[in-house]
Symmetry: C2
Subunit: 461 residues, 2 copies
Amino acid sequence: MSAGWFRRRFLPGGLLSAPGPSRPRASPVPYRRPRFLRGSGSGPGPADASRRPDARPVRSPARGRALPWNAGYAEIINAEKSEFNEDQASCGKLCIRRCEFGAEEDQEWLTLCPEEFLTGHYWALFDGHGGPAAAILAANTLHSCLRRQLEAVVEGMVAAQPPMHLSGHCICPSDPQFVEEKGIRAEDLVIGALESAFQECDEVIGRELEASGQVGGCTALVAVSLQGKLYVANAGDSRAILVRRDEVRPLSSEFTPETERQRIQQLAFVYPELLAGEFTRLEFPRRLKGDDLGQKVLFRDHHMSGWGYKCVEKSDLKYPLIHGQGRQARLLGTLAVSRGLGDHQLRVLDTDIQLKPFLLSVPQVTVLDVDQLELQEEDVVVMATDGLWDVLSNEQVARLVRSFLPGNREDPHRFSELAKMLIHSTQGKDGSPTGEGQVSYDDVSVFVIPLHSHGQGSSGH
Amino acid sequence: MSAGWFRRRFLPGGLLSAPGPSRPRASPVPYRRPRFLRGSGSGPGPADASRRPDARPVRSPARGRALPWNAGYAEIINAEKSEFNEDQASCGKLCIRRCEFGAEEDQEWLTLCPEEFLTGHYWALFDGHGGPAAAILAANTLHSCLRRQLEAVVEGMVAAQPPMHLSGHCICPSDPQFVEEKGIRAEDLVIGALESAFQECDEVIGRELEASGQVGGCTALVAVSLQGKLYVANAGDSRAILVRRDEVRPLSSEFTPETERQRIQQLAFVYPELLAGEFTRLEFPRRLKGDDLGQKVLFRDHHMSGWGYKCVEKSDLKYPLIHGQGRQARLLGTLAVSRGLGDHQLRVLDTDIQLKPFLLSVPQVTVLDVDQLELQEEDVVVMATDGLWDVLSNEQVARLVRSFLPGNREDPHRFSELAKMLIHSTQGKDGSPTGEGQVSYDDVSVFVIPLHSHGQGSSGH
């Protein structure tokens, strides 16, 4: 990404704001459900749309189809919020080829050694908006981007310490010391590869959507197991937690207009033209109106964690850059998440104001050192889209996990049963284990990844 | 601060980059030591410069002069690093007047009620660089800025919940509910006032330095007690910790080119002209050289927490925006801190490249709910400039505190004796309590604030 990219892409007069030559239009991205649901009984598409709110099917993989690490999965479509289920999921084995390095000029002749593998697994959830296309593209693409990015650095990952030069040539004798001082470890290369993969995938989605004339975006939550560690990369408002007998540990944080307020206001401060005079970047407890003019009201700007009072001017009456509270918070009145993939064409209704400059495709990555945990049989990672977390807290999910698993040790499908049970708990049925009857009308998708069996050959892939 | 301010102030062609009309020059800021050291024996100024490295005096307040809460203080000048001690300190009582509000149009006639006070205390440390002037100005000014900012919002602070409108008029019946939903509490107004006070003080320093033809900047670490809470605001690399019998809790974090790498690289990404083609914003384990050209080397850009490899191009050989490790890390090869006050005129040596756009004057504020702690007699907050923390860890300081205080309960000056002892521990004397003999050649200033006596009339001010 070149330094002038941002301006060329987003600011008035930028080279790229002129429409390019029209290209032949590709066919639209076909709707589908995750591949691993094949054979699970229900059809892929608009059939879903005929659901009654109280009779939406909870779907999970066919009994013969084991997911990596014997993970469980279940999903439910939203209650007529949209025609399609805009969540998507994928999982699989990650086979990273190791390249033999020659001199730099020989790199076109690199010998790929397909026998040498570094093997991992990944599980991914995508929560789409503005149509299902971006989430489908992400589910089709992100793992390939990740494999490519990991293959580009795998030589550094398998070294005792990542070398300053990927070739292993040591140009300056104290290079290993410089790397040591910066504290750069193999896991930093995986984090970097995840960050780059998300960005690459975002670019692919942008091109594909433009080519097919479609729109939309999605969040992305990915768990990757590699070399004894579990990496959780998150861009959006899905969530992953670790549930153990005595511990509930968040493995991701949510990125919404509220949690990223200061970053978003800061961008509007340095590039006010992104708001086209239609929005105010300031935060107020509510939208201001004429009666507030001249009054001193509570406000917050980009540099503030605290609150102050300001005298209301006319420009403060504009619609706020970030508006609403909690689940209702919206960026530019349009979007509930501030990170994710896609949305390249998204504009505020009836304006030319773009959302994309305020969105990040870069995930936050947390690392769980699985090899260092004294694992017990019921230790799991629960990943789910926001539809689950809107009605169940981390503690409630942990209680459901702990109450379900011990009594079902003999059931080889217990992790999918648990995923289904978690989804049933969001549907407010009388028998709902929470007994609180809260209902999620959103799409909900859940992976339950058991940690105990990892690498013990229980994977069907 | 208007939205176009940043560009006008820092970018080529900005209105303010043209020199203004020359004004009559004010006299330089006179050098001084903190007021509360008067009568402590040693002269204020260049006399300090005649010190031998092994015989620098440790100074603390005269025995008859009690600081707020009977806090202890001690300082030592650096070992001939600079002519003056560039640290400064101040402390005192904070008297916040409450204003009676009339209608908006009557505000010029506000009745100040000097009998009505909200009273607090503050302690502040400033670590100067590039000369002593900025730290002296900050020590003279910041408490006045803070008092003014607090007085502007005190009506909101003393209410059960800060009102949407400072006047208390309720324009929309559900205003209290909006404030409630945002979770805005009285302490958020104090945080906002601290943030604004630092910015206001920074502007004052900029004007004063320009008027007197002086240069320089300083870090700022401030503790403020108000309404049963202790607010710690930090911009720079000083540090405050809470030491209790069973707990050591950091009350601040350091802001350096290393800890703020992503913010600084991000700014250079959106405004590459700030680097004038002389620096690269990318981070590498060491500065690259010709031999690295064409190699794939470890690097990190603004959006990355992890590391990747990139093929070295010629532009990567430029001097890095952030260079060096730990205490040696420098911003633009010049500055070791990334937040603070002053430095308005600071440029990279022999260039026109400004440091100021990369610096923040806004502090990070943490709140300690003192009223909620079950205080014990030896619970203290230790605030010190980086000269102390360069050679003593939080745990070492805590051990020294715990070993000193219990045996000295009868000594009314024990907190200043402790501050002196902490400074002696940085001088590597044989009898140094750490026994590790690490030496700080920097200026060192220390406050020890006992929490137990707070509000119990032990303050002499």
